[in-house]
Symmetry: D2
Subunit: 106 residues, 4 copies
Amino acid sequence: MAVIEVTVVPIGTPSSSLSEYVAGCVKLLMDSEGISYQLTPMGTVIEGDLDRVLALTRLMHEHPFEKGVSRVVTTLRIDDRRDKDLTMKGKVEAVKTRLSSSKVQP
Amino acid sequence: MAVIEVTVVPIGTPSSSLSEYVAGCVKLLMDSEGISYQLTPMGTVIEGDLDRVLALTRLMHEHPFEKGVSRVVTTLRIDDRRDKDLTMKGKVEAVKTRLSSSKVQP
Amino acid sequence: MAVIEVTVVPIGTPSSSLSEYVAGCVKLLMDSEGISYQLTPMGTVIEGDLDRVLALTRLMHEHPFEKGVSRVVTTLRIDDRRDKDLTMKGKVEAVKTRLSSSKVQP
Amino acid sequence: MAVIEVTVVPIGTPSSSLSEYVAGCVKLLMDSEGISYQLTPMGTVIEGDLDRVLALTRLMHEHPFEKGVSRVVTTLRIDDRRDKDLTMKGKVEAVKTRLSSSKVQP
């Protein structure tokens, strides 16, 4: 289990709004059974088996080309931990627990 | 107004858990009046005046050094749009609206 | 043909020096026939068929785990252009040509 | 001394070629005395005092707006090491030395 952030940026689009392309990419995840993802203001975070998630991001990268775009810049950030299960929820909660229990020293 | 994602990764830490350092960075944002931010599983997204947010990320980058770490890799992604106001909420909602209104064609 | 930048960062290593792990990753590329790559101060840039390069970066991501590291953060940036052939050399030369021919206006 | 990689990507440009904008950004570095930089196929790597380099990347981010672009996505990756001097040349040579001295074990 890994946590992966993906951002797909089409280049040379008629408008500077990209939500149409992002929605098309997210649709691919909605249609994938058993995949957990979270839409953030700067990308999409996906949790799951690394190879399966990478195969999905490969499809997401292809989406703008199918819409007629001729250049796409895709960024993937993979956080892969093998000594314990890494989950989207677990990562955020580990930070929140520290913040609420005053474990953070300035 | 820009939306900025920041990830601060300390290198050569005794453990592979980094939540202690992330919490210290987020604490800096909690203590900053008038700054909106969102903790995601892969980083922290901040919204606000670009120069003010960049000044805050500069402090976040410094945090692990203050904790004794000797190397830090920090990634910043700035999304800056000047033809309309860019907000964290607005960016996510633009995508969700397209998804719910079936505006997405496969 | 796409141009892909990859950075493999092991977390929780005994030292803050990472060149041992980077060298191990680059070795995988040296041993791959017909793959062009360039080592930069911030990562490795690879040029080639996208799916073949992605398969190689998957191996690079695995390398630190084989060395005993328990957490790895890997960043991939894919620049994929379909209206003309994208090469590492062509990308840099396009910029240099503009700079030398004074086509750059302040 | 830190090593910083910067990539400035204008969104919604008339063409999918971006070299014009990249050249304009690099020109800002050429005109900055005492700054070392290296153009790579995927970005520009700059070496120097962190605050001075960050101030330069802030100008680079502004460049496409001055050319009429209304949205810019800029990525910065900062590698900052305080236990020894980090240089672009030193980082690449540390890896090459390991590769040539057969210190890399498969």
